[in-house]
Symmetry: C2
């Protein structure tokens, strides 16, 4: 199909005639696109050009106890348009409002979308903190490059996020466990249905005040190992935070729920390697069969799992604080049968998911081929010790109780 | 993450509080969802409820020679809203207009989108014809069920498409090779970012007048075999027409183009099976090494290739019209090395892509591991005989020159 471009102008989107330059060499092209950035003639994101149009109809704050993840949003949104011919336009903070999109817009047909999940926290002194935003900016750029969306200067966008969070700071609850969930989103906006690199795009950010994932303390979940669908593949896009990875996850999730399991567990290949749980990374604490040493294990970044920021934080804290206690920490492939064997032999200490929403999510058991694999918790326990310590360490940094380079 | 629902009302979208029922049994759940349809209390699509709001600003027709695929659209659009609590709303034909979408709308974040490509033709008598619309309806329902979007009565939607095509019939050029490209699209519209089955959706159709894919006759293309990325895999969603399958195809396509190849060729697995070309199915005509018989081969529907309507038509016509001439026709896996060997031994007769846009697309050669595999055309030829006959047969049916059950 031949690509094409057309003009459209409305209150939130511009699209200009444009052609995207192609990168020239062979392997892993999206890595190169990312590092090469835009051509010099095009404008980068410029925080000094930010304009703010305050809302004239401020929303009422919702009581902390009634907050639901991703249901209500703050007064404003941040948006930055891009065209292939001009680069990034001046950033704008405007009242939260609908996008006006041509029905031919390429994101609606071909899933030109990638996003991030981040949180802003208020510390004891009421100061607003972000947690490792550079990791999110790095990943969003990698995701964008993989689907021919424009890359950008992560530091400049982080500055704008900070401005936005200050503007809507009143929506961040003053209570530990509460935060403002931030959703940076980058979509292709070209209003033509030829399959081609989008000639225009919109980078925007919306924010939703959220409560603790476990308001009454941890509640360990049960998983169903999915044996009829595969989330990702080497050479595929499962390691990028693309919209394309999410819609196909919902039916297996529903299926697990219909049989009483809170999440599904993704296995990979004939070896049935344990990869991810629902939309979180997975950690397993196992006593080594030969040496008796405690090991904290998680799947390696081989292209089939998401490059989780919380995963990275758990690994770093484990290496810093568990290894001196005698633990081993490893990123390696673990077969589902290895997990089942450790459970049967009483060597499975605990298992937990890790992600931005819950930080950690303890797992009680896994349904696998009609059997239930117990994940090490006693009946009265809702979390293992490692998951609990990780949550406390990470929250301590997020809420500024511990000074750390990540906040 | 917990799912949630909220109310919003605007000129083109409704979203109601709703919970979707879960199907109960185990394997291939999306197949069942499709066959079980919606719960009886919910409204199905009802063509008798169609309302038509004609445009007050009709567009000028574009001269045939200036038409570009998917760039300009007709005066109207067809849309039908759905909510989990009420089912399908009354269908509407309205002026072509922007959609007003909350920035939290789930299609923008999680790629809840699937679509079809169809064409409407004018025959010699000026009557409007559709080509095998039941196949598109079947596939759109299968795609929808796989990503937890609502399924629908394909016959009812086809009736509405016919009404729409009558309304905008003046946009269908009166010239063979020209047609009206129809784009049915189904998107999730729930304005919350919890990952869950969308509680609301929009089925809509837009249409773009298009010219022949090869305005001056066939032009054989060159392909680059992609060895660094994988389009689809067993247990994945590569056999569904989901938006999610398209955005990740653009960079490999750009890479091929940057080295002078018009399309990329997707291989799969260590065996490097030949699967699809760009966004088309692939056919290979090879003389069998042992028997000397001519064989028309294409990849089987094993979940890694799209269930193409043109693919199905080519196979059916080959079985009906080539087999009596002594050809064998087979859906089987073909290794790239097998193709290269047939070429080297002078047994590769021709290779072509098949899809709705081009019908067939002859292939001159394939770049594979630094070598060029010649696909059987002589230097002065732009198509092989099988591709040419297939195009003539299919166009003959599409434009009503041959009476056939498919039109």
């Amino acid at each position: 199909m031949r690509s094409s471009h057309q003009f459209v102008r409305n209150n939130l989107l511009r699209s200009h005639t444009a052609a995207k330059s192609l990168s020239q060499s062979r392997s892993a092209p999206w890595q190169r696109s990312y590092s090469s950035k835009a051509a010099p003639a095009l404008s980068g994101i410029d925080p000094s050009k930010l304009t703010i149009t305050p809302t004239t109809a401020p929303k009422e704050l919702i009581p902390n106890k009634e907050l639901v993840f991703g249901k209500t949003f703050t007064d404003h949104m941040l948006s930055i348009e891009w065209t292939a011919s001009e680069g990034w336009f001046a950033p704008r903070i405007t009242p939260y409002q609908n996008l006006s999109l041509d029905p031919a817009t390429c994101v609606l047909h071909y899933a030109f979308t990638c996003f991030e999940g981040m949180k802003a926290y208020k510390d004891k002194e009421g100061r607003i903190r972000l947690f490792r935003p550079n990791k999110n900016m790095e990943r969003l750029n990698q995701s964008a490059a993989r689907i021919a969306l424009p890359t950008f200067d992560g530091d400049a966008f982080t500055k704008l996020i900070a401005e936005f969070v200050k503007k809507d700071g009143s929506f961040i609850p003053n209570e530990k466990g509460y935060s403002l969930y931030l959703r940076p989103t980058l979509i292709g906006t070209q209003p033509t249905i030829g399959i081609a690199p989008p000639g225009s795009a919109l980078l925007y950010l919306i924010a939703s005040p959220v409560g603790p994932y476990y308001p009454t303390g941890f509640k360990a979940v049960s998983l169903e190992a999915t044996d009829y669908a595969v989330r990702a593949w080497p050479g595929g896009v499962g390691d990028k935070k693309l919209g394309a990875n999410y819609a196909p996850c919902v039916v297996p999730q529903q299926e697990a729920a219909s049989r009483g399991y809170q999440q599904n567990l993704w296995l990979f290949g004939e070896e049935e390697y344990v990869t991810e749980v629902g939309t979180m990374n997975l950690f397993m604490a196992i006593k080594n069969k030969e040496t008796g040493q405690n090991e904290l294990l998680t799947a390696p970044l081989d292209g089939t799992i998401l490059r989780g920021v919380t995963r990275d934080s758990v690994l770093a804290l484990a290496r810093e604080r568990l290894v001196p206690e005698g633990w081993a920490v490893a990123e390696r492939k673990v077969r589902m049968t290895e997990l089942a064997e450790a459970s049967a032999e009483g060597r499975l200490i605990e298992v937990f998911g890790a992600g931005t929403a819950a930080i950690v999510s303890p797992i009680r058991n896994i349904s696998y081929k009609g059997k239930v694999v117990n994940c090490g918790l006693k009946d009265h326990e809702e979390t293992g010790e490692v998951a609990l310590r990780m949550k406390n360490w990470i929250e301590g940094i997020q809420y500024g109780e511990e000074e750390h380079e990540w906040r």
